[in-house]
Symmetry: C2
Subunit: 416 residues, 2 copies
């Protein structure tokens, strides 16, 4: 019978796993495939954007000075020079307007030489070759200036940026056909336990005392937004089987080509704790046992130079350990600089916690008059999956804090 070697603090555990977080390799991909990937290079603008002074509204390019004094009762009259439709697509090239002249223009078109503002269509009336203007504009009005969006040579997207739809749009606007991103590492996901049944194969639950493999689905779902997951499935609670499964999935010539493993189940102080033993005997067991709740029986090791997380068997404990240790590790590997934004909320009641232990508390958010309030979901035991499905997110109570007082402001990490 074996107890934890030593219960280390979350800070120590985090420092230890991050020390092993080798940056993922990079790859060059088409910008059209870059959504939700992480940039592995700074992206520079190759030119000013817009590339020329252009109309920001539909209307007429004029010299602003010509419109001064215009009003609904006293419109200014300008001479309409060659319209776009007469000269075709290239009309803007070479067009130049002089005093008292104007030129029909659409949003996005280059401003003709000589003009310095656009008067909106709504404030004008065309009559033959003349245009009435009912409202004055100041110089620069309704014009997007060259380089106003992005100046040539500046960094527009930084390394480490998680690319969202508008970032991909920015790449398109720069004609940046391919972009360097971090490769998604592939994590093998294994559940251990004699009691576990595969819920995809077992007959629907009918009141029998059966336990489904929940963790491999939960861990795959949590991993997927950041890295690839490969569900290895259920391995029986047997030292040799677990050791073999670890070495097979991390072997260079393995079928799954895993860059690391998340193994859940059995990593407790019980007699059947074969995972930690198997990791220790296959490589290095860096730590086993972290002062977090739930999630105490969490461990970490290195096998074949690859990271192996030992996660608790109970789903909520596994999610706690994932959020507190695996997610920061995956972010570091994939170069993610910034996680999701947290929400500040006021505790509606005291949330107790012991000093010397980091607590992962599932909470519900209640919004009232532009303020969020937080309610812990009262449950005992980390088998309580409904504490997750009913929650909006979680609060982490640091180990040096003796709980959260009623009325105290806390940071809530909201489910993505």
């Amino acid at each position: 019978m074996k107890l934890f070697r030593k219960l280390i603090s979350l800070d120590e555990a985090l420092k230890a796993v991050l020390a092993y977080a080798k940056p993922a390799e990079t790859e060059e991909i088409g910008f059209g495939d870059a959504l939700n990937r992480v940039l592995a290079e700074d992206v520079y603008s190759l030119a000013d954007s817009p590339p020329f002074d252009r109309a920001a509204m539909d209307g007429y390019a004029i010299r602003a000075e010509d419109s001064f004094g215009a009003s609904p009762n006293n419109p200014v009259l300008l001479r309409l020079i060659k319209s776009q439709s007469e000269k075709g697509k290239e009309s803007r090239v070479g067009v130049e307007i002089g005093d008292g002249e104007c030129f029909s223009i659409q949003t996005g078109m280059a401003l003709p030489k000589g003009s310095n503002a656009v008067v909106m269509l709504e404030y004008t009336k065309e009559r033959g070759s003349e245009l009435k203007i009912f409202k004055p504009v100041t110089p620069g009005k309704n014009v997007s200036f060259k380089g106003e969006d992005v100046k040539k040579g500046v960094v527009v997207l930084r390394e480490g940026k998680l690319l969202r739809a508008h970032d991909v749009g920015m790449l398109a606007s720069l004609f940046k056909r391919s972009v360097k991103v971090y490769k998604r590492a592939k994590f093998g996901i294994m559940s251990t336990g004699d009691e576990l049944l595969n819920p995809e194969e077992a007959e629907p639950y009918e009141g029998e005392k059966r336990i489904a493999d929940v963790n491999s689905y939960v861990l795959a779902g949590l991993t997927e937004p950041i890295a690839s997951s490969y569900r290895i499935g259920i391995v029986r609670d047997n030292y040799e089987r677990i050791k073999t499964a670890i070495s097979e999935s991390l072997a260079v010539d393995s079928g799954c080509h895993c860059d690391g493993l998340l193994i859940s189940g059995g990593s407790s102080v019980g007699k059947r704790d074969f995972i930690a033993d198997a990791v220790e005997d296959s490589g290095d067991l860096v730590f086993h046992g972290v002062a977090i709740r739930p999630g105490e029986p969490t461990g970490f090791g290195i096998v074949n130079n690859k990271p192996v997380f030992i996660l608790p068997g109970y789903p909520v404990a596994t999610i706690s350990a994932f959020e507190l240790l695996v997610r920061p590790f995956l972010f570091a590997v994939h170069g993610v600089k910034e996680g999701r934004k947290k929400i500040f909320a006021i505790a509606r009641k005291k949330i107790p916690s012991a000093v010397g232990r980091t607590d992962f508390v599932r909470v519900r958010l209640v919004c009232k008059e532009n303020e969020y309030f937080v309610e812990p979901i009262r449950v005992s035991g980390s088998g309580i999956l409904s504490s997750m499905t009913k929650s909006d997110g979680f609060v982490v109570i640091e180990e040096n804090k003796e709980g959260v007082e009623e009325g105290e402001k806390v940071e809530v990490d909201v489910w993505g």
Copy 2:
């Protein structure tokens, strides 16, 4: 030359599009594929979970009363009855403990008859067939009771729930092999404009005055988390071509099988506004022109009984129109009941806005002492894509509000 028929308010526009939001069809899929899908049924628990009283910790099942008075100096002595390893896997079946007896148990195992608490391994010492207990436990201690997580017959996940990793875990725990979800509608995405170049084919930007198709990538990226997108690509600014492209992509026997269209570009008051004309002549133009900024030239129509959004050519305006009108529509179609949680933040400076118009303001969030502050990104013109890439999210200023005062609290919709 044609002006907007009528500029309607965002509320009116929203009401109009939602009136056409037919709920998507449903489909039955394996629960393992259900991540990020929306439930189309209530999911009930088929049994109590846990299905039996079970140990929440590794240790020994006992009668709590037997441990009363135990202390490090005065341990209680109990008789260890048949251990699991002797009887094999099924040992728990039929095991019953009496007064002064205890039984070795691991987290998750059923409590043997007669016991009512678990004393943690840490507070015990085994010696031969006897166990020393150094700390008393109360009845129910370290036990997860039958039905404590979920009671049989209650709704555990409601229709309309966007399924996250732990929700999929819940389905697994219920052995719910398949689940009814809303089918992802497929939206064709089309950019129109004579000036547009395909950034995947055009040579890298080298200072030329060229404009890339940005919108089809941005719109596909915004659509994908909710519905499927199909990039139709660039269609030239020509009434017949646009009309043909609309009817081809919405035809029953079309290759793309689109359930709707997002068409961007040219939907302005300019002369070249062929999209609205083509929609009107192919079906019903429900509205064209909404009092939002940016995004005024937004329209909506129905062709072949399918929704067609007319979106502005400028990327920022298209994103504004997407967030304010298309996203609520897609949520309604796919049964999403709750969008992402907003963040409250204090305006650091006045954000001006005109009454009678809804403003979509890109903002940056600054966090200081458990409080978010919001800074508008100062830009002119909706061509300014960098206002998006530099922003953390956006603030919507309602049409009856004359801007936001310095120090006022606003709701920020943070990019997902």
